[in-house]
């Protein structure tokens, strides 16, 4: 079976790797090149050394954006994974065991489809819809449901809550995928283990913490890295949903938003590339750290 494995793999990988090299690796190399330059996006490129990074260090908005990315990085994976695990557990094991088979809560097949819906929608559409849900006047879905005598909640127009609104949408969109991912993981856990535990008198909570969670650790770890990287992005939602794109007054600004504005609106491509380089290293560090910290011996 092992014979001829490499030509086979190479045959499959050649095209994706070529595309990847052109559109990702080459782009990154250019980003590094431009990050030490002053370039408006038109005309000749002038090299200025580390000026862009010095400017970055002194830019309040940069630190603010970094904090916002940090906030998303902390909460998005935790909330999404917790919800994803809970739902996946309920869908697969939560109904208890009957006739020797563990099963999900009643109607779990329908829920499974519903949970996955948000994943099918384009992010731009999700952003527009939630823009209406969170609208700051009575025309908004949530404000429309509140009693007329209440002052409308400002949601995205309130700098204290704007970023949380974005977080809610990110979680809503992501959770379905992780329910499916965790369901698949749970499906590969042997039924005998659950059965044996149930015979020993384990409750559902014990089943979850003593069996499901440890056996799913690898999948959770992967989910964590993915969600973390998503938390470094969040560009589309913020661009479409927020006040003044990143506002009010920078309250929802993130690195990706800054990169976009500096490139396409302020003609500061060099500065934007420096931001891109920072983002690159942050993402890399995060992924490496996550994999290291969460490493466990195989069960």
């Amino acid at each position: 079976m092992r014979h001829g494995k490499y030509p086979f793999i190479i045959g499959f990988l050649a095209v994706p790797v070529a595309l990847y090299a052109t559109f990702v690796v080459a782009a990154y190399i250019q980003t590094f090149q431009l990050s030490v330059a002053s370039w408006s996006g038109f005309g000749p490129i002038k090299y200025v050394g580390f000026d862009n990074f010095v400017k970055l260090w002194n830019d309040d908005l940069f630190w603010k954006s970094l904090r916002h990315n940090g906030y998303l990085l902390l909460l998005l994976p935790i909330v999404t994974i917790a919800l994803g695990l809970l739902f996946a557990f309920l869908l697969n094991v939560g109904g208890g065991s009957k006739g020797g088979m563990t099963r999900g809560v009643w109607g779990s097949k329908v829920y499974r489809v519903i949970f996955f819906f948000p994943q099918l929608m384009a992010l731009a559409i999700v952003a527009v819809i939630f823009g209406r849900v969170f609208a700051s006047d009575k025309s908004g879905m949530i404000n429309g449901l509140l009693p007329d005598s209440w002052a409308p909640w400002l949601f995205l127009a309130d700098e204290r809550w704007a970023l949380t609104c974005i977080l809610v949408v990110l979680v809503w969109q992501a959770v379905g995928f992780y329910v499916v991912l965790f369901s698949a993981g749970m499906g590969s856990i042997e039924h005998e283990i659950y059965e044996a535990a149930a015979l020993d008198g384990a409750t559902r909570v014990t089943l979850f913490f003593r069996i499901t969670l440890p056996l799913l650790w690898g999948t959770i770890q992967t989910a964590w890295v993915y969600l973390g990287i998503a938390a470094f992005d969040a560009f589309a939602l913020i661009n479409i949903m927020t006040v003044d794109r990143g506002g009010p007054d920078g309250a929802t600004s993130v690195l990706a938003m800054m990169i976009y504005r500096n490139t396409f609106e302020y003609s500061q491509v060099g500065y934007a590339s420096a931001l891109g380089v920072v983002l690159f290293f942050l993402t890399l560090t995060f992924a490496a750290l996550t994999l290291r910290v969460t490493r466990r011996d195989a069960v």
Binding site: A27, G43, L154, L156, P248, V269
Partner: protein
């Protein structure tokens, strides 16, 4: 366990490895690659012909041209149904390739960098390109020749002589005209004339009148003044700076444009900010910060908002949502103090909507010729008819039956007489500073209204920009 775990490269490991490389996401960075490569000095062969009285710009009658129009509030009909036919009537052998887009920078900027520039470009909309950067990179054609050429259909006059004075200067960068600002926009407070008539309200001339009227309007259950904070704060910046201009003349705004130290902390700006902050505090609906311009404009159409600061494109933009009883009218911003240097009737009206010929395209002369066609009286008249906006071509609106809003704007302009001023350019020249003004004005109007803080914040941003050597500076006088 299952045989998945026996494979050398199981799914989880693969995912983990892919993630570990860290390149799986961060798409924003990848986009940058689209722009790299602008450093090449391209020498495209450019079409020219012989200059004559009939062909003052010396175009090659057979060379095709390519135009790109912004598909926004003005529509595209004026280009496809008016300008191009007039152009082709004169130059039947020059084929006009036309396209329209809402995303000018996304479509056109990479082409400028790649040396494949369209010949005439309408640089407009939320995704307009930074025109200062285009000029600095030598991508825009110097329009001096165009303004000096004979008018397309007004005999005996040069193009410049047929335009509102100041048009060429308005599109000038360091003394040379590069942009044609084609439409002529009147700014002020827009209201529903029918509603005001019914309630016996008259547009105020002094700030005290304005406050009294706002109280009355509020008592009637209508929001007296509103603008959309989410994406239209620049209307409010214009209102505030127009007031500042009326207090201390246009010089205040010129200083702002020239990044002069102390320009934003000028007493005129502070006075205007204080006056507007009071309006924000007392009369503005706080939920408007989260709304988009169309939502507030719709509320005005439903008579839920009385005054809305905007330009004269408003009537056309709202055409399909305006009920028949709603008649747009515009009032100048009231005098802030008794000692304002300009009278209460003074108006801010500016040439806007940039059209330019690209200097590095295949046919820059053809691009200029297309602009000359647009500046013909015939084309300008049709433009006004189709888009309900005025143009910089003098007298082109004569004989056109104007809509209520536009005739109100015309009337206000006549009342203002010589006290019409073009305003400011800092937000076009330095987009970052413009964006800062949006955040600052939202803060002023929606969050407590500290006028001194507004001035200090803008002053700091302006001075930081003045010291930033990576930004090409512009000046005006």
């Amino acid at each position: 366990m299952s045989d998945i775990t026996n494979s050398e490269l199981d799914r989880r490991t693969l995912l983990r490895r892919a993630a570990a490389v860290g390149l799986a996401a961060t798409p924003a960075v990848g986009m940058l690659s689209a722009c790299v490569g602008g450093g090449d000095e391209d020498t495209t062969e450019q079409a020219t012909g012989t200059k004559s009285a009939d062909n003052p710009l010396g175009i090659d009658p057979k060379a095709p041209i390519e135009i790109v129009i912004f598909d926004g509030g003005l529509g595209t009909k004026y280009a496809t149904d008016v300008d191009t036919p007039i152009y082709n009537k004169k130059w039947p052998e020059s084929k006009v390739a036309y396209s329209a887009t809402q995303e000018i920078s996304t479509t056109v900027q990479p082409r400028l960098n790649a040396g494949d520039a369209p010949d005439m470009i309408n640089n407009s909309g939320a995704k307009m390109m930074d025109f200062g950067a285009i000029v600095a990179a030598g991508q825009a054609q110097d329009l001096t020749e165009l303004y000096a050429a004979a008018s397309f259909d007004i005999p005996g006059k040069t193009v410049a002589e047929t335009l509102v004075p100041g048009t060429a200067e308005w599109g000038s960068y360091n003394g040379k005209p590069y942009a044609l600002n084609y439409s002529y926009t009147v700014f002020g407070m827009w209201y529903n004339a029918t509603l005001f008539e019914k309630n016996g309200w008259t547009p105020p001339a002094t700030w005290a009148d304005f406050i009294t009227l706002c109280d009355k309007i509020q008592a009637a259950g209508i929001v007296p003044f509103g603008y959309a904070g989410a994406n239209a704060a620049y209307y409010m910046v214009r209102a505030l700076l127009t007031s500042a201009g009326k207090i201390g003349t246009e010089q205040v705004l010129k200083d702002i444009d020239n990044l002069k130290p102390g320009a934003w902390t000028n007493p005129a700006v502070l006075e205007a900010a204080k006056a507007w902050a009071e309006v924000g505090k007392k009369y503005l609906d706080k939920s408007f910060l989260g709304l988009k311009h169309t939502e507030v404009q719709l509320q005005q159409n439903q008579d839920k908002v009385a005054f809305y600061p905007c330009g004269s494109w408003l009537e056309n933009e709202q055409a399909k949502d305006t009920p028949p009883t709603f008649k747009y009218a515009v009032a100048p911003y009231p005098s802030v103090t008794a000692s304002d240097k300009l009278p209460a009737t003074a108006m801010n009206a500016a040439a806007g909507e940039i059209y330019f010929a690209s200097s590095k395209g295949k046919n820059p002369r053809g691009g200029m010729e297309y602009l000359r066609v647009m500046l013909s009286k015939e084309a300008a008249t049709e433009f006004t008819r189709l888009t309900k906006s005025l143009t910089v071509v003098l007298g082109a609106a004569d004989g056109v039956e104007l809509s209520p809003g536009l005739s109100s704007a015309n009337e206000a302009l006549n009342k203002a007489g010589k006290d019409v001023f073009m305003g400011y350019l800092f937000d076009t020249w330095y987009k970052k500073l413009g964006d800062e003004s949006l955040s600052a004005v939202n803060d002023l109007m929606f969050k407590g209204g500290d006028a001194q803080k507004f001035c200090d914040r803008m002053e700091a941003a302006s001075q930081a920009l003045a010291k930033d050597s990576s930004v090409q500076k512009q000046t005006r006088s």
